[in-house]
Subunit: 206 residues, 2 copies
C-alpha cells in the first residue's frame, strides 16, 4: 500500500517524530504547524506537508497539527507502537557505549541481548545486560524472534556476522563497521561511520 513512497521521505519521518516529541515532552506544547516544525528543523514547511500527505490528513487549516495525535500516527506508520528487541553484536568500547545509551528508550527499541566472541568480555555486565557468547547468537535470535540488530564489530568480522544474523531472520541491521555489507533483498541495512560523515564535510572546508 505504501511501498511507492520514496525512502528519502521515510527517512525524514523519524526526524519529525523526534522534534514533535521534544515539543510535547520538554516544552509542554499541544499544537504546532508545518511552518514552526520546518523552521526548527531547517526543512521547508511545504516539504513537511508533502511528506505527511503521503499518509493522510494530519493537520487542520488554522490550528495546524495536534502534536500528540501526529506523534501517535508517526509511531504507527514507522511500526513503533511496540518496542523492538534489539540484538547488539560486539561488546567493545562502542558496544559498551550503545549498551549504556538510554536514548533508545521510549523511541521504540530496547537492546535486549549483547554478544561477543572475546572470552574476557563474555559474562561481563553492561548496564542491565550480560554479554553472551556469540556462538549462542543464532539460537537466541530464533527463539526470541528478533528482527533488529546492531553490529559493532571490527570490519573483518562484519560480513560474517551479517550473514549469520540474516540467516536466522534479522531484517534490519545498523552497522558501525566501516565497510559496505551485502544483504539479500528484503533486508534493510544502514551504516554509521563517523569518518565518512567527516570526509563529506571537509570537502566544503577551504
Amino acid at each position: 500500500m505504501t511501498s511507492d513512497i520514496p525512502d528519502i521521505v521515510i527517512g525524514r519521518l523519524p526526524i519529525y517524530l523526534r522534534e514533535l516529541t521534544r515539543l510535547a515532552e520538554e516544552e509542554g506544547r499541544i499544537n504546532t504547524s508545518s511552518h514552526e516544525l520546518g523552521k526548527r528543523l531547517g526543512i521547508s514547511s511545504a516539504q513537511i506537508r508533502k511528506d505527511l500527505s503521503h499518509f493522510g490528513e494530519f493537520g487542520k487549516q488554522g490550528t495546524g497539527y495536534h502534536i500528540n495525535y501526529l506523534i501517535e500516527k508517526l509511531r504507527e506508520i514507522l511500526h513503533l507502537t511496540n518496542e523492538w528487541d534489539v540484538a547488539l553484536v560486539g561488546a567493545g568500547y562502542l558496544g559498551h557505549a550503545l549498551a549504556h545509551y538510554h536514548g533508545f528508550e521510549h523511541r521504540g527499541f530496547r537492546i535486549s541481548w549483547i554478544f561477543d566472541n572475546d572470552p574476557t568480555k563474555i559474562g561481563e555486565q553492561m548496564d542491565q545486560l550480560i554479554v553472551l557468547d556469540v556462538t549462542k547468537m543464532e539460537q537466541v535470535i530464533q527463539e526470541q524472534h528478533i528482527k533488529v540488530a546492531v553490529i559493532a564489530v571490527p570490519a573483518n568480522y562484519a560480513q560474517e556476522i551479517t550473514d549469520r544474523l540474516v540467516a536466522v531472520g534479522v531484517r534490519s541491521i545498523l552497522s558501525y563497521a566501516p565497510i559496505h555489507l551485502n544483504v539479500p533483498r528484503g533486508v534493510e541495512i544502514s551504516y554509521s561511520d563517523p569518518v565518512i560523515q567527516l570526509q563529506r564535510m571537509t570537502y566544503y572546508l577551504p
Copy 2:
C-alpha cells in the same frame, strides 16, 4: 569552481574512497573498474562514472581506474591530504569509544583534544589523550586553529556547545546528540543518531 556539485555526489566520494583503500591495502589490487566498484557497493557503474566525471577523467577505456591514483585524487578533492585535528566534546561512554576508535587514522583525521565539564572525568587518560576542562575549549581551538569537532554530549548541552565551537572558528561538526542543531551559513553539520536510522528501517518491517 566545484560548488555546483550536488551534496549527494560529495557524500558518495568517501564511500568510493573507503572501498578503493580496501581494495588496495587488503587485497593488494592495482586496478579496478566502475563495474567492479559498483558491484561491491551496490551502486550502478553509470552512477559512479557520472559522480567522478564532475572532477575530471580518472579512468581509461579498457583498463579502468588505477586505484592508488584515484585514491590520491579523491583525497585531494575531499581535502584529506593533511590530517585534520579534531576536537571531541564529551568524555562519556560514547566519547570514550570515539577516543579509542582507530578508524580515524590514515583517513584524514586525528582526535587531538577531548573536553568535558565533569570534574571526575577531567584529567582522565583516554587512549593517548587527557580529558581537558571544557572551559579551556575555546582557547585551545583558537590557538590550534581547529576547524573540525565531534559532539558527544547530552541533547540539552548540544546547542550551547555548538554555538561556542562555531564562535571560535569550527566549521565542520559531527553531532551524536539526538537533536537538530542550528548553525550559521558556512558551517557544515552532520548527525549520527542510531534511533533515527533504526526507525527508518522498521517502517519496512511487516
